[in-house]
Symmetry: C2
Subunit: 289 residues, 2 copies
Amino acid sequence: MTELEQIESALLSYLPSDNCTEKQLIESMKYSLMAGGKRIRPRLILEFCKLCGGDTEAAMPFACAIEMIHTYSLIHDDLPCMDDDDLRRGKPSNHKKFGEDIALLAGDALQSLAFSVMLSPKSVESVGADAAAKSAFVLAECCGANGMVGGQTIDLEYENQKASLKILNEMHQKKTGALINAACQIGCIIAGASKEKIQAAGKYAEKIGLAFQIIDDILDVTSDEETFGKPVGSDLQNNKSTFVTSIGIEKCRELASVLTKEAIDCLKEFQGDTEELINIANSLLIRKN
Amino acid sequence: MTELEQIESALLSYLPSDNCTEKQLIESMKYSLMAGGKRIRPRLILEFCKLCGGDTEAAMPFACAIEMIHTYSLIHDDLPCMDDDDLRRGKPSNHKKFGEDIALLAGDALQSLAFSVMLSPKSVESVGADAAAKSAFVLAECCGANGMVGGQTIDLEYENQKASLKILNEMHQKKTGALINAACQIGCIIAGASKEKIQAAGKYAEKIGLAFQIIDDILDVTSDEETFGKPVGSDLQNNKSTFVTSIGIEKCRELASVLTKEAIDCLKEFQGDTEELINIANSLLIRKN
């Protein structure tokens, strides 16, 4: 099995059985969680864990947990009271398929499931209670009020007003960057890596996270719905400040390229095979969806 | 300070500072978290912890975490796509005050904050990583797809069809009971209590949880909006199966009374002062809101 197949199979195994009264909820959770995607965040956890000499099998619950958090945020983001998107990864968004009420609850339950999976007796036995608690704490902080959800709030607030480059940076660092940062740090924590390594992983994360967002802004104006897998042009339509509206497409491409090189430089802190982490950084730069 | 005042003050202390770009989100979280209420779940954690010889100060993060989970569920429950309630605890519900988007995010962030607070370095230092991870796991399970959120799903599913008494029981055991159960168990876990004691606490919880829900169903038909603090008659209006529609008001009163006595009997497993836990059980039986 490839690493990606291992992640898919583990994700499926952590979903509760749908042989229960709340069957529809479980189906809705499964619909979004198993909808494919690049699984960047889980792969980052596994790669950093491997690079620091850790056991990737023990890291798997954490890899799946972060994807559950990411998935819940996408479900809630698509709701009519948020971005009101009908399409996600080329398929009807969760609330289009299951209704708003079930979509809301599926997101809520995926967040709980993430913490359940990280802190299960089996997971605690594999990585130790200290590393499990520390990793779950990092994820909780990164996805909460001063992390991912904070970033979404800033995004809402600046929907119809011009955001400075400083605000744009803060918004993206929180909205997208925080979770990528959590992934890279957690991989190191589970492997028992040094503070210096955890810090270097955090810097790599910060840079690829920002590059990721800049590319997203570019694709929103240059791609088409079929390739991108979600509606394009929505930023312009919503009058949103983006990196593209702030500094233009050409400077955006340059900046993303520089950030990717800087991210790859951060990997010098590590001894061992960094090829896959270099690939991830480069693949985010040239991605089409 | 009374115990209730200690809980209020701790809750406030765990909220992130609103001196940040996502100020509105923090205000929205604070609005609902600090809206009063009986704080039953935190009190149950503290009381069981005390009863089992544990340190209530160390238990406080967990007491606050469970109230954060409870609060997030109320915010999401009130949303237009769910119960669409304009009033909560006598005040405009969160989305009426802050808008649906912020209310959704405030609920999401309160769930993350609960896990942050339980697993913070300070909390882990106080109770040990094992007890912290175990308690957070119990809470995650109880509030997730086969717990609280599962119960809400069953509730939605049976909104316009008759539910059997078995389904009603399952729904309430999950929707309300699971969180009360988590509270009683976590109090014991933090104090390092025996399996037998954790089990007895779970039984006490199950019985007061069910009594709580039966009283809720009674109040929905016998109270008025001002006393109840939320709209009344909504069950009938929504054509919902309740304990009252299933077995009638008189049998409901009897059943709630029997369950309360049985709950109090479960406390015989414990040596020590059970007065407050007896009071809580009795207060739920005679409550007006």
